[in-house]
């Protein structure tokens, strides 16, 4: 019944049916040479404590500044997972170590915004508009990116070229290009009352204009149908499960990341995706190897790992960026937490990243090196990282980069510090 309705709708909507099931995978696999590059942005709202993610375990100032919340050295009980002798990964992120070892996970330490605000909301706004210090920018850089991406040779852009996971559209996607938002959880691939032809038709007449609501309505109808087709392909979910040894994923980020992977793997049109996660504002009792922060990092690592696995061959064409508005104070506060700081770590994952390395110039944690005497300094502008991804992964022309980040004087990366593999 559901299947018949779907087919009917697809025919009525004039949409081209994509192949279902295993053949769809084959199609994706075969056309890999022409497969467009993908970018996934994961935003950690609330300012994750980057010094607990990529831990400068060899720096004695780190341990001194955090008597009760410093992560232990590698090999010690609850210790960090050593990355390169200087830095170690939070033990709750252990699921990501295989990616690190495969050279598909890298970090840029001491990364962030040149604007020194410690307001979550201003800092997020700047990072999403891509214009630090300027509040008048109306659109977000991920939306502008849609305008400068090389056109897809396959034909007109699908409604799901850019997707956001969640019930609201984030600032980073604000702008003139249409973006599909996909509900979280199991609702994503489920039909709604609007999938009844009679209801759809009646509302279609009401939303036939050229106003913002009508455009949103039509975008939703289109993307919803594409998503339903992608998520309901015969046996797709089962095969996806098999790809992760049949283990069901916990609710929340792991489950949603896996759904996004399903969508991206079966819908070749998805090029940009965004998801955000809250709960990183650890002013009190953030814990160390276990505790509040570890409880947040665990599902994040698990979800990213499942995402990589489930993307299969598409992982090769995908870069995942994990970012957060600013870092947290180097010294712990009076409650076993950390307050708003400045520099942070940016994560890069994917088949083409120059992983297995901690990039960026490490300014150190000595008092003299700290920003305003309290925070990790920023030595790499977050836009520089995104420009390199744009240039080497998304194949953007230099000329378009100024549209993406107006006013930003980016520099061409030297071969030694390249974040992407050639």
């Amino acid at each position: 019944m559901l299947r018949r309705d779907l087919l009917q709708l697809a025919v009525q909507g004039g949409a081209v049916l994509l192949p279902f099931g295993p053949s769809a995978w084959a199609a994706v696999g075969e056309s890999r040479a022409a497969a467009p590059p993908r970018l996934v942005v994961i935003f950690l709202r609330g300012a994750v404590d980057g010094l607990s993610v990529v831990v400068p375990h060899a720096d004695s100032a780190y341990h001194a500044a955090r008597p009760s919340i410093a992560l232990a050295r590698p090999g010690d009980d609850g210790g960090v997972l050593d990355l390169d002798g200087r830095f170690g990964l939070h033990p709750a992120l252990a699921p990501l170590m295989p990616l690190w070892q495969a050279g598909q996970l890298g970090f840029v330490q001491a990364c962030g915004s040149p604007d020194a605000t410690r307001s979550h909301f201003d800092a997020q706004d700047y990072m999403e508009s891509g214009t630090p210090g300027r509040k008048s920018t109306a659109d977000g850089w991920l939306n502008r990116l849609l305008g400068v991406l090389p056109p897809d040779q396959a034909g007109p852009a699908p409604a799901t070229r850019a997707v956001s996971m969640g019930p609201v559209l984030p600032r980073i996607y604000a702008g003139r290009h249409s973006v599909a938002n996909v509900p979280l959880g199991a609702a994503a691939g489920k039909p709604t009352l609007l999938d009844r032809p009679q209801v759809a038709e009646a509302f279609g007449r009401l939303y036939g204009g050229d106003d913002a609501l009508s455009r949103a309505f039509r975008a939703s109808r289109q993307s919803h149908q594409e998503v339903m087709r992608s998520m309901n392909g015969d046996g797709l979910e089962r095969e996806m499960q098999a790809a992760s040894n049949g283990a069901p994923l916990p609710n929340g980020f792991p489950d949603n990341a896996a759904r996004l992977a399903t969508l991206m793997r079966s819908d070749a049109g998805v090029q940009l995706a965004f998801m955000d996660l809250g709960g990183w504002d650890t002013h009190a009792n953030q814990g160390a190897a276990s505790g509040q922060l570890a409880n947040r990092l665990g599902p994040l690592g698990q979800g990213l790992s499942a995402f990589a696995t489930r993307l299969g061959p598409v992982w090769e064409e995908t870069v995942v960026v994990v970012m957060s508005e600013f870092g947290r104070t180097v010294r712990q506060n009076g409650n076993g937490g950390t307050d708003h700081g400045h520099g942070n770590v940016m994560w890069l994952l994917g088949g083409r990243v120059a992983g297995g390395r901690v990039h960026g110039r490490w300014p150190g944690l000595d008092d003299a090196a700290l920003h305003e005497g309290r925070d990790l300094a920023v030595t790499t502008d977050f836009r520089q990282v995104l420009v390199e991804i744009g240039e080497r992964h998304l194949r953007l022309q230099d000329a378009r980069m100024a549209e993406l980040f107006p006013g930003f004087a980016f520099r061409a990366p030297g071969a030694a510090q390249r974040l992407m593999r050639a």
Partner: protein, 490 residues
């Protein structure tokens, strides 16, 4: 039904007490005030406001104490088991239940989960019943506005049990009073002290007082509350303070905490002098000497009447009531009125509702409803006849605006940018269709009569939409009206 008639009679009696001559209003003006001061028309509202005129309606709404609640609503509210639960009871129960889970395992865990679920539903009932049925519509809007302004998150620990009490004791009584009182009430309430961590912000090296409870573990400063107090609650992010001012204000507020065991009255707030930083502070250009709790009270005095606060609040209120990009001249006048009246919220609102900017037909129907606006106005317009709020709470969650569920201290936005997106439109339509066909996942209700609905909404449903309705099958007409672009706006 009977109760509604009674409420009307009482409301009319309240009108009769007013000296002003009623000035009948146009339908468009009546709709505008019903949509902006309240959550849109319920059956009969439009005719009544047209009759008494908008000036009188506004005056009535500015004095909610003169408008009695319908008897059945008042009874239902009073009968909620936690309607009168004190801060102490709620905190004690929460901690005992947490301890029982530690000691008792699965059974205690299930009992606790069920108790918390009940509490969530009750706070949802208390809020949504009033929003849908209270004749004090402006009061409901101001409660929602100020809750967002002084947001706390139901998902953070102890606040799971405190949000209802917070709204009842710290927000509602002051929603149209003096801003300083509202600011003070939130600053002393355990929900805020806990949410923004001030309850455990103490002078470095200070010794815990006996009976301090879990706060005894604290060893120093936490600047979370001090920052948001200036950035969000008062001055605004461009209000001219520095990181130094944040740290110094945090020092001023050390020792502001709560302790159920050390208090006896309705409030569990305590100023713990032993954990207060007694040194001199230099904050916003002034020296603050050792005066204990009075230092913090003085800081709140200064913040409440600071010109930056006046501008910040005026902008937010103008955005909420007038337009996403409120006219600068209006914001200026509101700020002046605010300062001249000593921070009187009612006076500011009076000026706002009398302003040509608010009354201009250009702004009629131009605010895109938030999910909360949309759900509550749908329930009002259809006089949805059940008291089961669970499908409404579920819809709010799906639409990205769970009640009391905003995790961050900035609260929910009320602009079109924040809420208009493809998925939102179709989800609203799905909700409208289910509600109007009597098929929300609650006790089944009769389908909504499209003729009655259209009479209730009047000119709120445009001729264009009415034409589209006329072509649709009868059972789709009410869903189309509620799911129309017209009804997505207020």
């Amino acid at each position: 039904m009977k109760a509604r008639v009674l409420a009307w009679a009482l409301a009319c009696a309240a009108f009769a007490a007013l000296p002003a001559q009623a000035q009948p209003a146009s339908e468009a003006d009546a709709l505008h005030v019903l949509n902006r001061l309240g959550y849109g028309p319920a059956p009969g509202d439009l005719a009544r406001v047209r009759q008494v005129g908008i000036d009188r309606y506004i005056d009535e709404q500015l004095h909610p104490e003169r408008l009695p609640l319908p008897a059945d609503l008042a009874q239902r509210l009073a009968a909620l088991p936690t309607a009168a639960a004190s801060q102490r009871e709620l905190i004690t129960q929460y901690r005992e239940a947490a301890q029982a889970v530690k000691d008792g395992g699965d059974e205690a865990r299930a009992a606790r989960r069920e108790a918390l679920r009940q509490l969530d539903i009750e706070s949802g009932q208390a809020r949504l019943w009033r929003a849908a049925r209270s004749p004090r519509q402006l009061e409901e809007r101001m409660v929602d506005f100020w809750f967002n302004h002084f947001n706390v998150f139901v998902g953070k620990g102890l606040d799971r049990v405190l949000v209802g009490n917070y709204e009842r004791e710290a927000i509602r009584p002051y929603a149209m009073g003096r801003f300083r009182d509202l600011l003070g009430a939130t600053a002393h309430h355990p929900a805020m002290l806990f949410y923004l961590d001030n309850w455990q912000s103490v002078a470095a090296g200070s010794q815990p007082s006996p009976g301090a409870g879990p706060a005894a573990r604290a060893s120093g400063l936490n600047e979370n509350y001090a920052r948001e107090l200036m950035e969000l609650h008062t001055l605004g992010v461009a209000g001219g303070y520095s990181q130094q001012d944040v740290t110094e204000l945090a020092r001023v507020l050390t020792g502001w905490t709560f302790a159920p065991r050390l208090t006896t009255g309705a409030s569990v707030f305590v100023f713990d002098a032993r954990r207060h930083d007694r040194g001199d502070k230099f904050w916003l250009g002034q020296r603050i000497g050792d005066q204990g709790q009075a230092e913090g009270e003085r800081a709140l005095d200064l913040l409440a009447l600071h010109p930056a606060t006046a501008r910040h609040l005026s902008f937010q209120l103008a955005q909420y009531f007038v337009a996403d990009q409120p006219p600068a001249a209006l914001v200026d006048r509101l700020a002046q009125r605010y300062l001249a009246s000593g921070g009187d919220i009612r006076a500011l609102l009076q000026t706002l509702f009398a302003s040509p900017e608010f009354r201009s037909p250009k702004v009629h129907g131009q605010k895109f409803k938030t999910p909360y606006d949309y759900v509550v106005s749908s329930v009002r317009a259809t006089d949805w006849p059940t008291t089961d709020v669970r499908p409404l709470l579920g819809t709010l969650r799906q639409l990205g605006m769970p009640l009391y569920g905003c995790q961050t201290p900035d609260g929910y936005k009320n602009t079109q940018d924040a809420w208009l997106n493809p998925d939102a439109i179709t989800r609203r339509i799905a909700f409208a269709t289910a509600l109007a066909s009597g098929r929300l996942p609650a006790a089944p209700t009769p389908p909504v009569d499209a003729h009655v609905l259209l009479a209730t909404l009047g000119g709120g449903i445009s001729p264009k939409t009415r034409a589209a309705l006329a072509e649709a099958t009868p059972e789709l007409q009410a869903p189309l009206a509620l799911g129309s672009p017209d009804f997505m706006h207020r």
